[in-house]
């Protein structure tokens, strides 16, 4: 990766040393390699009708902006002030108490003051003051205001793509100012000028065309699932036929496409299919609604809505009764906090009731989508599943709360309950780093690109630091989570900071321990490695 050694990476970070120059005087921003994503490709922007579609090169002096770019941004701010009370209030009421400052993983990992949430917001707030407040107009810089020029725009771009929208700062803010909301709106403004990243706009275009970020076409999806089923057969002796685009199924199952593609997500996908097979669930995959994640959410609210419409259209077309969503972070933020508003009232579906246990999912009665962890926890509580926990005995597990299900939902107990029922060895990380105070993996909100590995390793440092603590204290060797981005970003983070700790989804652990009816004696886990006690001599 060309990165310095871990002990060197953080050694030069000093959270107490601020630059000698005031922050408004540090322009132009230096685009440090490893800290910014590559610019969007014109064809991807064009495919989803984004404005100013052209190949965008970040480090080129000329960003090829439309002539009246400044007006576009100012008008954009005005429109959003009128549309979002969050934005309007958050622009006005910050007192700069600094409570948020050392809560941000990017500030902790980089020491860059503009990564303090308060200052990240001030970058935009200063522009707001200049054009929308009396004080800013009258007193200019002394009123905390500054002109919007090209250097300021570049700075906004640089720092709004160094925020993972994890909302940890908003938890500590005495007024609930949510930097994620400011970043979301900041990115919307940048997208009015076609200033997106390749890593986000590519998946968005893919998702629009094929239904999923990875661009998996229907036949490939089918063969991928069948390939997984071959592995399942090798491991358990049970042949599963995955239902695909099956009309009249009771439940539509949607998960992030990351689970169909790469290790260790695929083991989770195998786990879903094994679980559903075991309980005889009448469900279906959809090749079109083949993505629960939503990179559109990292560009604009509108794009997010455009990408997820397919989920309800497919639910309608396939005549299912309700929907189960797999393990994913931002997907659940969108599903939980936005879906019902965008697509409701969802009256063509039925209030979710578990066909196995009869449990009514009261908390999902309006938008009719249930989290797989809620569903599985309910199954376990009712004693529907049988486990051989010793199959997971080689694993000493800790659980990483993903940002979005934590601070945008509050899904804490369900996954823990599941893990404790399928694993014998479970240890929590320190309280200040879990549940609502959890630290980000360092790669959320479309920042899991390879070219910003240094930023990711720095941003992921607080999380890794807590894992290292339980690794050294309890010998933890597995970091479980319920997020596809985590499953993609945490393995390199662990390899870098805490070698010897592997990463898995929760359902993989469930399926590995689950005793299936008619299975052969298992000797391998879902990764085709020998189970504890079954190692060859």
């Amino acid at each position: 990766m060309g990165l310095p050694r871990p002990e060197e990476l953080i050694s030069n970070v000093n959270l107490k040393k601020m630059p000698s120059k005031p922050w408004m005087d540090t322009l132009p921003v230096e685009f440090k390699p490893g800290f910014y994503c590559y610019g969007a490709k014109g064809k991807n922007l064009e495919y989803v009708n984004f404005p100013n579609a052209r190949d965008f090169h970040v480090t080129e002096q000329d960003w090829k902006l439309p002539e009246d770019w400044k007006n576009i941004v100012i008008e954009g701010i005005k429109q959003r002030l009128e549309r979002f009370r969050t934005f309007h209030v958050f622009m006005d009421i910050c007192v700069r108490c600094g409570a948020c400052a050392d809560k941000c993983h990017f500030f902790i990992g980089t020491g860059d003051p503009k990564n303090m949430p308060v200052l990240r917001a001030e970058l935009l707030r200063s522009v707001y003051r200049k054009y929308f407040t009396t004080g800013g107009k009258l007193f200019g810089r002394n009123g905390g205001a500054r002109d919007l020029d090209i250097d300021v725009l570049k700075e906004l771009w640089y720092y709004f793509y160094q925020c993972t929208e994890c909302r940890r700062c908003s938890l500590f803010c005495p007024y609930g100012i949510d930097t994620a909301e400011i970043t979301i709106i900041g990115r919307e403004l940048l997208n009015l000028l076609g200033l997106n990243t390749d890593w986000i706009s590519g998946p968005v275009a893919n998702c629009y065309r094929t239904g999923n970020h990875l661009g998996i076409e229907p036949h490939t999806m089918k063969s991928t699932l069948e390939f997984m089923c071959n592995d399942i057969e090798d491991i358990t002796g049970i042949r599963i036929e995955p239902p695909i685009n099956k009309k009249g199924a009771e439940i539509l199952f949607v998960t992030p496409s990351g689970d169909l593609f790469a290790d260790p997500g695929i083991y989770n996908a195998m786990g879903y299919m094994m679980l559903f097979h075991e309980i005889g669930l009448d469900y279906t995959w959809s090749t079109f609604a083949s993505e629960g994640g939503n990179f559109g959410f990292f560009t604009s609210m509108e794009m997010a809505k455009r990408l997820h419409t397919k989920i309800y259209e497919e639910a309608k077309r396939l005549k299912v009764k309700w929907i189960i969503g797999g393990e994913c972070g931002h997907m659940w933020r969108v599903w939980h906090q936005y879906h019902n508003t965008w697509y409701g009232p969802i009256d063509f579906l039925e209030e979710p009731v578990s066909p196995i246990t009869g449990t009514k999912f009261e908390n999902a009665k309006s938008n009719k989508i249930v989290h797989i962890s809620e569903f599985t926890a309910d199954l376990i509580k009712h004693g529907v599943l049988k486990f051989d926990k010793s199959r997971n005995d080689n694993l000493i597990v800790t659980f990483h709360d993903s940002c979005n299900p934590s601070r945008g939902m509050g899904l804490f107990e369900e996954p823990r309950y599941i893990i404790k029922n399928v694993c014998n060895h479970f240890y929590e990380m320190p309280d200040e780093t879990i549940r609502e105070q959890t630290f980000c993996c360092g790669g959320g909100s479309g920042l899991n690109a390879g070219e910003i590995m240094e930023l990711r390793m720095r941003g992921g440092f607080p999380r890794a630091n807590a894992v290292r603590y339980v690794h050294e204290k309890f010998g933890v060797n597995l970091l479980a989570n319920i997020c596809a981005i985590d499953r993609a970003t945490l393995p390199p983070l662990m390899d870098y900071w805490v070698p010897g700790v592997r990463v898995s989804g929760v359902t993989e652990l469930v399926a590995n321990a689950m005793i299936m009816k008619g299975e052969k004696e298992r000797t391998m886990n879902l990764r085709m490695e020998p189970l504890p006690g079954k190692e060859e001599e």
Binding site: R85, C97, M116, L171, Y208, K246, K310, H336, G408
Partner: protein, 329 residues
């Protein structure tokens, strides 16, 4: 940034009031015109700002959830930190506004020898509570200057505040606490490098302004001899809309009153509006019940999206070949 500027402005304001009353004798300007104007600006400005915020709708229900969600019946959920009902929200807001719940969570992160340490840090919470409650009590105490008969509840506040019965006139606890809290809040901005770096002139200005108000108030009560009867005549006149400018009110009082007037007039245009804004913060004042109850976005509009038909048109042959059911053969 801007600490000197803020200090000079407050000093200038003090000088302005001194010259205006002591040298130029514009007592009625400072006794009547400025206070009324400031009060009007405060009320109109405050309402105006809140109405402006209120006009911006809340398109999405996005509470920051700080505890276990309401889900399965056997899982205990966090009724206040992650409320699912209106009552829960009311309690959450109460704890937020009355006890600064979020600030109570505050931690401190430090990197030592390549390791990160996160520890509890309640100083800001204590300092903020001390400041705000002292200020509130002092404000309530001052109501006796605006009423001919001091109501019993204000007398109670007064006697509790001077409970220790030290000195004559008796020392108010809140005078000492607010002075300490203000020095702490100012000290953070000077000595904490992160807070220093983010501070604007508009962060120092209200601090110096309030320090000026407290200092002049304390001087009048404990040190300087002021004609309290004349002052009460003036304040009562203001309250009963029969303004008078009595003789014998010294410029120290006028400086005090002028700084208060400036604070009131400045309030609606400044970060001090967090007082109103905290009630409207959508990450705190909404229930986490999105999947139970639909939240409506008033400006929602239809968006262009890809329909299944287009998708199938593009992939039909591949789907058929793979044995995936299609709508049109």
């Amino acid at each position: 940034m801007g600490i000197g500027l803020a200090f000079i402005i407050v000093l200038g304001l003090i000088l302005f009031a001194y010259i205006g009353t002591e040298l130029l004798g514009l007592n009625s300007l400072f006794a009547v015109v400025f206070p009324y104007v400031a009060l009007i600006v405060f009320i109109v400005g405050f309402i105006n700002r809140v109405v402006k915020w209120g006009k911006s709708p809340v398109p999405f229900r996005i509470p920051t959830t700080a505890g276990q969600q309401f889900s399965l019946p056997w899982i205990k959920y966090s009724k206040i930190d992650n409320p699912a009902t209106g009552w829960g929200v009311a309690l959450r807001m109460f704890f937020e506004i009355a006890l600064f719940r979020s600030l109570f969570r505050n931690t401190k992160a430090e990197i030592m020898n390549g390791k990160l340490y996160v520890g509890s840090n309640k100083w800001l919470w204590i300092g903020a509570l001390a400041f705000h409650y002292s200020f509130l009590i002092i404000l309530i105490r001052h109501l006796r200057f605006f009423m001919a008969q001091t109501p019993w509840c204000i007398s109670v506040v007064d006697s509790v505040d001077s409970f220790w019965q030290i000195g004559l006139p008796m020392v108010y606890m809140t005078d000492i606490i607010i002075a300490a809290a203000l020095l702490y809040l100012l000290g953070r901005r000077i000595f904490n490098p992160q807070v220093k770096y983010i501070s604007l002139p508009s962060d120092y200005f209200p601090l110096f302004l309030i320090i000026g108000i407290i200092a002049t108030g304390v001087m009048m009560r404990y040190f300087a001899r002021v004609d309290i009867t004349a002052i009460k005549e003036l304040t009562l006149g203001l309250a009963y809309l029969k303004p008078t400018v009595p003789e014998g009110v010294g410029s120290l009082f006028y400086i005090h009153l002028f700084l208060v007037s400036v604070l009131f007039a400045y309030f609606p245009f400044s970060k001090l509006m967090h007082m109103g804004g905290v009630f409207l913060s959508p990450t705190r004042n909404l229930a986490n019940n999105n999947r139970m109850e639909r939240h409506v976005n008033p400006w929602d509009y239809p968006v262009k999206h890809r329909h299944y038909e287009e998708y199938e048109d593009e992939f039909r042959e591949k789907m058929k070949k793979a044995g995936i059911p299609v709508e049109k053969e």
